[in-house]
Amino acid sequence: MKKPVVLCVIDDDDVYQFTITRTLKKTAVSKRILVFSDGEEAIDFFETHLSKADDLPDVVFLDINMPVMDGWDFLEEYVKLKPNLPKPITIYMVSSSVDARDREKARAITEVSDYIVKPLSEDKINDILIELST
């Protein structure tokens, strides 16, 4: 039995939280889902679980526009944290923004694997998960 994949959603939109969680649950992969409403919540969690690799997510779906600490700020903090992480984390930037500037900005950050425009379709999520297992 494969270890469950830890999926992480960082987004302030509670409706979106609802929908994405549902979509993620429907996938075949064994997983645990972590949900945070803003970057600060997420970073706090990372920091407190640095030693526990199993608790930390494998994949992060990161929203840009969030209160308190937005996606960019989160990434800033994440980069500082990264050297201490016990395992690699794949980060997808997720946004309803089609602004090319955002896309470019995301591309420039090495920690970001890809930029995805909402809504995340089920297929897209599956693709991601499959890619992960390889």
Partner: protein, 751 residues
Amino acid sequence: MTTQANKNLEISPFGDLDLLDDVGIWEYGVLNDELVWNKGMFAIYGVKSSAFNHSYAEWKNALLPQDVEAAEEAFNRSLTTGTFKYQFRIVHPKQGVRHIKATAVAIKKDGKAVKVVGTNIDVTDYIGDVSQERMIAGTFKAFIEQTPNAVAMFNKDMEYIAASDAWLSDYHITRDVIGRSHYEVFPEIGDDWKAIHRKCLKGHIDVNNEATFVRDDGSIQKLRWHVRPWRHENNEIGGIIMFTEDLTEIHQERRERAKLDEVLLETQSVAKIGAWRVDVIKGKPYWDKITRQIHEVPDDFVPDLEGAMNFYKKGYSRNEVQRMINRAVEHKEPFNFELQLTTYNGKDKWVRSIGKPIVDSSGKVVELSGIFQDIDEQKKKEIENKIIKEQFENAFSHSAIGMALVSIEGKWLKVNNECSNIFGYPKDELLTKTFQELTHEEDLGKDLELLKDTIAGKRSAYRLPKRYYRKDGETIWTMLSVSIVRGASEEPLYFVSQIEDITKRVKYEQSLKKANKDLSLLTDKLSLQNKSLSDFAHITSHNLRSPVSNIVTLQEIYKESESEDEKAEIQDKLFQTTNHLKETLNELIEALIVQDSAGENFEKIALTEVINAVVANFEGIVQKKKADIKLNGNQDLKVLGNKHYIYSVVQNLVSNALKYARPNVPPIINIELIDDGKYAVFKVKDNGLGINLARHGRKLFGLHKTFHRNEDAKGVGLFMVKTQVESMGGTIKVESEPEKGSIFTVQLPKP
């Protein structure tokens, strides 16, 4: 003793010495006044020994009366001083006056003279005729000593007998020379001179009108002299008389004069001034050396009148010469001309001739005489200068830029036409002014500073953009270039100023600058607008897309959902989302309206009124939270804007202040009204949670942001507030620190 002496006379006490019968030897006993003479003494004195009474007195009697005193004195001196020599004359019974040379020496006992012994020698033959010599010398002496000329009298041994005062001063000696040999006094006297003296002593008369004499100290004396023998009554040569005249001074003078003449001559050649004259009767010109040189004629050239005039260049010069010569001869008019001639060698040169007519007793002109000068170089320079001056004048007058000569004090000395145009003053009026009068007060300081430096020599010129006032009062911009002209001793004479009217250029530059500035402002505004626009677009896309995408997803889930509970839940969410969407759309539309209607419905609004109304509205919450809202400052402050917007702004800010109070800390809100000139400013200060501006500053006034997980936090408020404030031409900014509260400052234009 006397008797014994008498007896022993035949047996002389002098023994064998007695055989020397022309040398007198004597002995005198001081104590007993006894005088013993030898044979020689008797012979000299012409006294028979038998007749001798051996007393001092007897000797004394033998002396020539006028020599007694001297001889006695000498004898007495011998008693005290030892050996001495003296001379006196005696009267010999047969031979007459005889000259005696005597010596004496005292023999002392216990310091006192007891005996004196001595000799007497008849030196008459050696001396010659003493009396005569003395007489002549005496006469001469008086004469010589008094003569203004330098005269000296010598005896045959070239010993000084007498010398005039002039002689003494000429040769820088004193009368002590009397008796001394001339060659001893002047050891530098050469053999040639000595030879002359010897010749003269033999009877030769020597005259030399200029003899050179080198003194001991190396100085040179030039003498005129006359040497001749002088004779006794018996015509025997007694010696020579020398008469000299020191020509050295005269000689010096002459030398100086010669030098002066030379210099003068040279100067004349340098100045190339020659002399000429024309014998009018004979019609013959005479040229001096310089005049000849100027004409460059060979030494054997003889000028004739026509030929002389033909030297002058054909045409004007020649005509003029002829005319002037004629006028001089016929009308006695002197002339002074500067004309051109061609020299013998074919060279052209400018000459000046100044001439005047000389008339005879009948008033007829018999001669013309004058000077002639080569002025070629000067003339050429003069012409050159004239050309340069003309060129300058031309450039000056017709220059396209203003040119002026300005005095050191700043007075306009000379101005060209362009200057007149630039300043709008007619030339003569401009010349009554100084540049300081016309200069713009802001530019005067710098100008004067540079001027001062130029006068002081720290710089030779300067350039300065400056403003002047025209006559009509208008300000003009010019580019001024100033350079200084100095005199021969480097003294400042005047300034040469060039003034270029650059008003147009400056105005153009200024308008360009302004346009640039406007452009910048416009660009800023536009980019601001652009930014806000893109922000707007950004915000709208996100804020609209989010709920829309949610709706889409929810619908999909609903479709797939099998559970009724889940369906209910989804419906709920759908409702929530559509509401959110609606709200967002409203806000956005409102914002658009606000932006669009900027400027419309603006009126004078009293801030105090609005604030009081808003606070009244929040009465309930104020009570609940035990809040304290205070209003300070300029209560009369008014703004120009939209009543609704102002109300909305104030409401939002107060609402936020109340909403974001610190837990369990009653909110204290201070609203301050400030008059800031063109703007009215009001500040809303609270003691609430504050904002981390470092983190959120950028997005503070953006659409739909929240910064606290506060339930009431909507965030859209500040976006709207900013939009509304800016639509009225105002600004909003915030200062805040977490846990320390915030200050929102709104600036709005006054009516």
